[in-house]
Subunit: 204 residues, 2 copies
DNA sequence: TAAATAATGGAACGATTGTTCCGTTATTGT
DNA sequence: ACAATAACGGAACAATCGTTCCATTATTTA
C-alpha cells in the first residue's frame, strides 16, 4: 500500500478506481437501513458498486466494514450533535435546537432509518464487544455534552442551580433515544413537537 | 387437527409431546435476545427442544413463529404495563410505579435484552408490514393508557388541568422507550433513577 | 518502454440458511 | 386389537451465506 518502504522508493501500482470515503458512506447507509445481519455481502457488493475482492482488500471483512461504518456515523453525526450544545448563547435554546435537529433529521429521512448507533446497540451490543464499546463511548460523549450545556445554563442564571445537572443531562439524552425509537411508529411532526415541548419544561 | 369434522367423529392421533405455550415462550426469549435475522432455525430447534418438523407443523415457518412470539410478548408485557396505570389511586404514583417497574424488569434481566417490541421495531418495522402493524398497535395502546391516567390525575386535582394531557402521555411513552434503549449501554441503577426522577417533574 | 505492484472481476469454496419430505413411532376412538 | 391419524426424527433440498483464490487488467516509477 505505501509508496515508501524501508526508506527505499518502490514501484507503485494502479490506484483505486473508487473513493474509499464515498464507498464507506454507502456501506453506512446500507447497514443503517437493514442492520448487520440483514445486510449480506451480496447486498454490499451490489450497493457499493465495487467488486468482492476490492471490498475485502480495502475493508477486511464484513464485521470490520460494519465497525468502520458505525465509527464514521458517530464521527459525523454524534460530533455534530455535541457541537450544537455550545453554539447558541442561551443554554435552553441550544438544547431546544438540538432536539429539533434530531427530529428534523429523523423525519427528513423518508426511509425512517432512525439512529444508526441506537439500531446497532439494539441489534449487536449484547453479543458484540466492539459495538458495545462504540455505543458506550458515544453515550458518554453525548451525556457529557448535555451536562456541560446545563451547567452553562446554571452558571448564567437560565437554569435553577439547585437542580441536578447530571440527572438533567441523562434525562435529555434518554429523551433523544426515545425520539429515535419513536420514529419507527410515527412520522407525525405534532407527535414529536409534543415530546420536545414537554421535555424542555424540566429546565424551567 | 380438529377431532370433529363435518359433524362426524373421526379418529384421533397422538397428542403433542410438548406444551405449545411453553415452546412459544422459549422462542420469544430467543428472538428477543438475538433478533429475527440473528436467530437461525437451527438455534430454534436446539433451543426449543422440539424437532424441525414439529416446529413447522405447529407454527408454520420462521416468520409466523416470530410474529406469534412478538404477539405473545405484547399480550404478556404490554398489557401488564397498561393495567398498572389504573391500579394505584394516585395517578402520579401509578405513573411512577410504571416507570419503576420498567426499570426493574430491564435491570432484572442480566442478559439486558431490553424490550422485545422496541427491538423488533428497530430491526424489522421498516421492511416488515406485519411487525410494523404490531408495533403501531402496541404504541397506541400504551399512549392511550398514559393519556387516561393523566386525565384521571387532572380530574382529581393531582395534575394541573391546564397541561396538555396527550402531550404528557406521549412524552412519558417516549421516556419509556428511551429507558429500554439506555439499558444497552448502562446497568447503573442511579442512572435510571435520575431519569425517572427528572421525567416525573413534568407532572408537577 | 519495461518491470513492479496492486486493484479488479469472477469463479469457487465449504458452511449455513430456511424449508420440505418421508419413513417411523405413538396415541387415539371404535 | 384395529384402523386412522398426526407427531416425530432425521435425511435431504436448493439457495444463500461470508470468504478465498487466481488470472487479468491497469497504473506507477524507473
Amino acid at each position: 500500500m505505501p509508496a515508501v518502504k524501508s526508506g527505499h522508493f518502490r514501484f507503485m501500482a494502479r490506484t483505486k478506481d473508487f473513493d474509499e470515503a464515498e464507498v464507506l458512506q454507502k456501506a453506512m447507509r446500507l447497514f443503517w437501513s437493514k442492520g448487520y445481519n440483514g445486510t449480506s455481502m451480496q447486498d454490499l457488493v451490489e450497493g457499493l458498486g465495487i467488486s468482492r475482492s476490492s471490498l475485502y482488500d480495502t475493508f477486511g471483512d464484513k464485521h470490520q466494514l460494519y465497525l468502520k461504518a458505525l465509527e464514521t456515523y458517530q464521527q459525523n453525526y454524534g460530533t455534530q450533535l455535541c457541537a450544537l450544545t455550545t453554539k447558541a448563547d442561551s443554554a435552553k435554546i441550544a438544547v431546544k435546537q438540538l432536539l429539533q435537529l434530531v427530529v428534523d433529521d429523523l423525519l427528513g429521512d423518508n426511509q425512517r432509518k432512525g439512529c444508526f448507533m441506537v439500531n446497532a446497540g439494539i441489534e449487536m451490543a449484547n453479543h458484540d464487544t466492539d459495538v458495545n464499546q462504540l455505543l458506550c463511548t458515544s453515550e458518554q460523549q453525548l451525556e457529557q455534552a448535555f451536562l456541560k450545556v446545563i451547567q452553562r445554563g446554571q452558571a448564567n442564571g437560565e437554569i435553577n442551580p439547585a437542580k441536578d445537572a447530571l440527572a438533567l443531562g441523562r434525562f435529555l439524552n434518554n429523551t433523544v433515544k426515545g425520539l429515535q425509537v419513536s420514529v419507527k411508529s410515527t412520522s407525525d411532526r405534532a407527535f414529536f413537537d409534543d415530546i420536545i415541548k414537554t421535555a424542555l419544561t424540566v429546565l424551567d
